[in-house]
């Protein structure tokens, strides 16, 4: 007797999404670009030519050359090495904070949409309050209250992203909970928790994931912005935003100091947006090809 699988269905849905996703050339370019950046970040200890913190006063503000491909900063530190090491930090901070926001915001949104009524009203108005703070202001407040550190930076970014995730999870929950199969679940005596986790979540998870890929790009921008105004990770640790700020002082005569980290941010945000667009098209049932 062959094994009977009780696949929850992700496999099949995922296969469909992958098919639709891969039919789209830009999403492939975005994915390739992003994976390349992740690979470079992971390999930073191996491939970076210099120690990112190593100062060399004799080669201060050197323009790009064979020795220093992207030049050096005002302390003579190698820009390429700092970029590679900075990528690790930027990616970790943005990924962790967005995953946290997805989890917390997703739960808030599903529960709020499912319970409905006055509870929903109160929760969503609280989310609106959260949403009314621009991400930078929110970051400023959190970091000012808790102090500048990597963890606090992640808390700040997650806080700004929770409300949008709650909204994106709530809207489809309200639609799905009225479906006949949810009524059928009630007729089978399933608990509310089971209905939300097993029957509603798989129906709306794709939208949350798409949102996640787009917000990952935003998180990288917020991290860079906060580091730029000095509220991010403390120097001398290399972060992209911090590098732009440091380079800003010499922007007129050594533009590469700011230009290269800016380009790095641009590339990551661009690749993530391409992935997000591709994913969004892939999960849109109206665009999903015949089943």
């Amino acid at each position: 007797m062959s094994a009977i699988t009780l696949g929850r269905g992700e496999g099949h849905l995922l296969a469909q999404v992958v098919r639709a996703f891969s039919a789209n050339a830009t999403s492939w370019i975005g994915l390739a670009l992003f994976l390349a950046i992740v690979a470079l970040a992971l390999l930073a200890p191996v491939i970076s030519p210099y120690d990112p913190l190593d100062q060399d006063v004799l080669t201060r503000l050197a323009p790009p050359s064979a020795d220093h491909w992207l030049g050096t900063d005002s302390y003579g530190r190698d820009i390429l090495s700092r970029l590679l090491w900075g990528a690790r930090l930027s990616l970790v901070i943005s990924t962790v904070s967005i995953l946290a926001a997805m989890l917390i915001g997703g739960v808030i949104g599903i529960v709020s949409g499912y319970v409905g009524g006055r509870f929903d009203l109160v929760v969503m108005q609280a989310m609106d309050v959260l949403l009314s703070f621009p991400s930078l202001i929110m970051g400023l407040m959190v970091v000012a209250m808790l102090g500048a550190s990597m963890v606090n930076l992640m808390i700040a970014i997650a806080l700004t992203a929770i409300a949008p995730f709650a909204r994106i999870a709530r809207a489809p929950t309200i639609v799905v909970k009225e479906r006949d199969y949810i009524e059928a679940c009630r007729a089978l005596g399933f608990s509310d928790l089971r209905i939300m986790a097993v029957h509603i979540l798989p129906n709306i998870i794709a939208e949350i994931i798409v949102m996640g890929s787009l917000w990952l790009a935003t998180a990288i921008r917020i991290e860079a912005s906060l580091s730029f105004i000095g509220l991010g990770v403390r120097p001398p640790t290399a972060t992209w935003g911090g590098m732009i700020r440091e380079g800003f002082e010499n922007i007129l005569d050594s533009a590469w100091l700011s230009v290269f980290p800016s380009l790095a941010i641009l590339l990551v945000v661009f690749s993530l947006n391409m992935i997000g667009d591709g994913l969004r098209d892939a999960i849109d049932p109206k665009l999903r090809s015949g089943e």
């Binding site: 009977i4 009780l6 696949g7 269905g9 009524g117 059928a184 007729a187 005596g189 089943e291």
Partner: protein, 335 residues
């Protein structure tokens, strides 16, 4: 029908009301009936007559936002379900009382495999592990006669036709071998040949499992092929209850009679399909007295004055009707 044995379900004077437009209006009024073990009772009526609300009341699924059971008792296996806590109801729903819905196309979760959905009920109510529930689910899929059940086990609902989906719904509903099955127009959305197959499957499984069934429909042809007893509902009330043969042979309430007369028949001229003039009164504007009186050809003075009660029709205690003219009310009518 064995009148001596205790019925599996006894609905007594059920009143279920909904709030709308500032007032509370009874969608189901003074409904009483019993269902014996291994018996199929059909509830027949037009859209909006309260048959689905009756089913939802039994399931404890009346939307709490605007509806509630105002009065009455629903005794299931001797226990009153009205006023039972949600946790207790959850243990009964899907396990001891199951329900099949009208729309097979939308009643299955599109992102979960049918195998998972059948097994889920068993895992939830019976605490079976994945493997045991999977085996039992496959067994059920075979019992509802899904061809190549083993191959179809991991398929998604969209890969099944409407009739096949309704079979899957039946498998889910019967997974825990319920004592009572509520079938709310389970064949309405299916075409006629598939309808016949699903009906015979339901009848077969019902006798195999020895369960009781409440079959809700507006289709008298379906009633004739599956029911043991029939309750006819009109405007939230049961107007006539009778064993199947009696109802078709001697319809007593004028509504039942007119309803049976409006079935198109092959041996009659199709150009003269009879209808019942007038329309069902709105839930918020129920007439005084008998609710069918405004449309009734037999109407007498008292009909518009006082509401008749469900009274035995002469000669047969199993046959009851709610009519001043056809069912003698004398001994029951209290001033």
């Amino acid at each position: 029908m064995a009148s001596g044995a205790a019925p599996i379900l006894a609905v007594e004077n059920l009143v279920t009301a909904f709030r709308s437009g500032g007032g509370e209006h009874a969608a189901v009024r003074d409904v009483s009936f019993t269902v014996q073990r291994n018996e199929t009772v059909a509830i027949v009526g037009e859209s909006g007559c309260g048959k689905s609300v009756t089913a939802l009341s039994i399931m404890g699924l009346v939307p709490a936002a605007n509806g509630r059971i105002v009065a009455g008792h629903i005794r299931f296996a001797g226990r009153d379900l009205v006023g039972l806590g949600e946790d207790e109801m959850r243990k009964i729903r899907g396990d001891r009382i199951s329900m099949i819905f009208q729309e097979p196309m939308t009643s299955l979760n599109p992102v979960l495999t049918v195998g998972f959905q059948i097994a889920e009920t068993l895992r939830y109510h019976r605490g079976m592990d994945r493997a045991a529930a999977g085996r039992a689910a496959l067994d059920l899929l075979e019992q509802v006669k899904i061809p190549a059940a083993r191959q179809r086990f991991g398929d998604y609902p969209h890969q099944f036709s409407g009739g096949m989906r309704q079979r899957v719904m039946i498998a889910i509903a019967l997974a825990c071998r319920p004592e009572l099955l509520l079938a709310d127009e389970p064949t309405t959305a299916l075409d006629v040949t598939i309808q016949a197959q699903v009906l015979s499957l339901l009848a077969e499984l019902k006798s195999a499992y020895g369960m009781a069934m409440i079959f809700i429909t507006h289709n008298l042809g379906v009633v004739a092929s599956i029911a043991d007893r029939v309750a006819v509902m009109y405007a939230g009330e049961i107007v006539e209850v009778a064993p199947l043969d009696t109802l078709f042979a001697h319809p007593t309430h004028p509504y039942t009679e007119l309803l049976l007369r409006s079935i198109p028949r092959v041996d009659q001229d199709a150009r003269h399909l009879s209808t019942i003039p007038g329309q069902v009164p709105s839930i918020s504007a129920m007439p005084r007295g008998c609710r069918f009186a405004p449309r009734c050809p037999l109407r007498v003075a008292i009909c518009a004055e006082r509401d008749p009660l469900l009274a035995p029709v002469a000669g047969s205690p199993a046959h009851q009707a709610r009519c001043w003219v056809r069912a003698p009310q004398a001994e029951l009518a209290h001033a």
